[in-house]
Symmetry: C2
C-alpha cells in the first residue's frame, strides 16, 4: 500500500457523488474506494433507456481509474451503451446484520462504492483481446495464457465496455450495535451477526484430462477463505495496491 496519498487521490465532491444520507460514513479517496471495488467480482450497473432505469448485475474489474465489464453483443444494455451513455456502477459488500434495541437502530455493516462515468464500447480488436485476457488474469492470476485462445467468433460475440471513473464515493459502516444511550439499560437482546462470502471446496470438472493439476495461480481460492480477501489479493498481484 502506498504510505501517503496526494490531494489528487480524492475525487471531487459533486452533486451526484456526494453522500447525503449518513454522510459521516462517506469517503472520496481512491485509496478508500478502490479496495471496496477490488474486493468484488460482481457489480450492479444502472443505466437508462427511454427514461426507464435498469439495474444489471455483472462481473467487472478495475484498471487504474477505469472500470471494465463485458457481455454478449446481443445484450440490451450494451447495444445502447454507445460512447457516452451515463452509468452508475455500484459495488456493495454486506458485512454483518446489526440487531439493536429499537427498530430505528437496526442496521447492517457494509462497504459500498458508487462510480459515475460514461460507458463506451471497446471496439479496437487488439484492445478488446487484451481486455478480455486482463479480465481472466485479474480474477485468476496467470490463467489467460494457459487457456485455449479466443476464436474470432468468440471475440465478435463479446462486447467489452469501459468507463473512466469521473467521480465516485464510498460508504462504510462497521460499528456493529449502536443504540441510543438510554436504550442500553433495556432488557433487550442486541447483537451483531457477521456474514462473510466464503470460498468452498473446489469442484474440478469431472472431464478433466488425466494428470491436469490445479495451477498455482489459483492459490488465493482456498476453501474457507473470504472471497473478498481472495479477490483483493489477486487484484493487487496483477495491478498493485490502490
Amino acid at each position: 500500500m502506498p504510505t501517503d496519498h496526494p490531494a489528487s487521490d480524492a475525487f471531487p465532491k459533486t452533486a451526484r457523488n456526494q453522500v447525503k444520507r449518513m454522510h459521516e460514513r462517506g469517503c472520496y479517496a481512491r485509496h478508500e474506494i478502490y479496495p471496496i471495488l477490488d474486493a468484488a467480482m460482481l457489480c450492479h450497473v444502472a443505466y437508462v433507456i427511454d427514461g426507464q432505469p435498469y439495474c444489471t448485475p455483472t462481473a467487472f474489474w478495475r484498471e487504474g481509474d477505469h472500470l471494465y465489464w463485458h457481455g454478449s453483443s446481443a445484450s440490451r444494455m450494451l447495444r445502447v451503451q454507445k460512447p457516452g451513455l451515463p452509468v452508475c456502477l455500484t459495488v456493495s459488500h454486506l458485512d454483518s446484520l446489526v440487531l439493536a434495541r429499537c427498530g430505528f437502530n437496526h442496521s447492517v455493516d457494509y462497504r459500498s462504492a458508487m462510480c459515475f462515468g460514461s460507458a463506451h464500447i471497446i471496439d479496437d480488436p487488439a484492445e478488446k483481446a487484451r481486455a478480455l485476457d486482463s479480465m481472466v488474469n485479474r480474477f485468476y492470476p496467470d490463467r489467460a495464457a494457459s487457456l485455449r485462445p479466443n476464436t474470432d467468433q468468440e471475440l465478435k460475440a463479446t462486447m467489452v465496455i469501459g468507463m473512466l471513473i469521473e467521480d465516485a464515493s464510498g460508504k462504510v459502516r462497521s460499528k456493529g450495535v449502536a443504540d441510543d444511550e438510554e436504550d442500553y439499560a433495556l432488557p433487550i437482546y442486541a447483537a451483531r451477526f457477521p456474514v462473510t462470502m466464503v470460498v468452498g471446496e473446489a469442484e474440478p470438472c469431472p472431464r478433466l484430462m488425466e494428470g491436469v493439476t490445479r495451477p498455482d495461480g489459483l492459490s488465493a481460492f482456498q476453501p474457507g477463505r473470504r472471497l473478498d480477501d481472495a479477490l483483493l489479493e489477486n487484484q493487487i498481484r496483477l495491478y498493485g495496491a490502490a
Copy 2:
C-alpha cells in the same frame, strides 16, 4: 410450497423485463422469481434524476407482489421518488466462480431477479409504522414487539418506499463448467469454486443487560449457515412460501 401454479403466476414478458442475453436462463413465474428475492436482504435500486442513473444498495423486503425499502427522509433517492418514479430493483446471489478451458466459457453461477415498477412513498403513519415492524419481523421473526417502540421522531426521520411489481424476470445459471465439446480434450484445469454467504458467530452487544438471552426467533441464524437459506426461512415463516 404450493404444488401447482396458475397461469397468472407468471409475469407477462414485456420490452423491459424480457431476458435477452442468455435468454434460456430467464424465468418469469412468481414461484421462480420470488424465492430469489426472499433469500436476500440487500437489493440494488436503479433510478434516474435528471437523466443521471443512480444505483443504490439498500435493505428491502417483499409482501405479496409489493416490495418495500426505507431510508432517511434526507435521502436523495427518496426525496425524488414521489409517486410514480420508475425504478428497477435488482437482487443477485453469486453462487460459484466457473473456470473453463477458454476465456469465453468462464462464467459464474448465480441467481438474479429484476423487478420493475413505480416507487411511491408510504405516507400514512399507521401504514408506515406497520411496514417498519414488518421489516424487522421479516428478517428477525417476532422481534418488533420485543423492541423499544419507535418514537414519533424516528418515524418522521424514516421514509418507507413501496412498489408494486409490475413486471419482473429472474435469471439463473447453475451448471458449473460448460466447455465446447472439443475443448474437453485439452489439458487445461477447469473447475467450479462454490461461494456462499455464511453467518458467523453472533457477537452479543457488550453492554447487554444481565440475564438477557438470545430470543428463539433468531434461530435461523446459526453459525455456519447460509445466509440466503436463513433469510428465506424467515420470509416463509412470516408470509408463507411464494
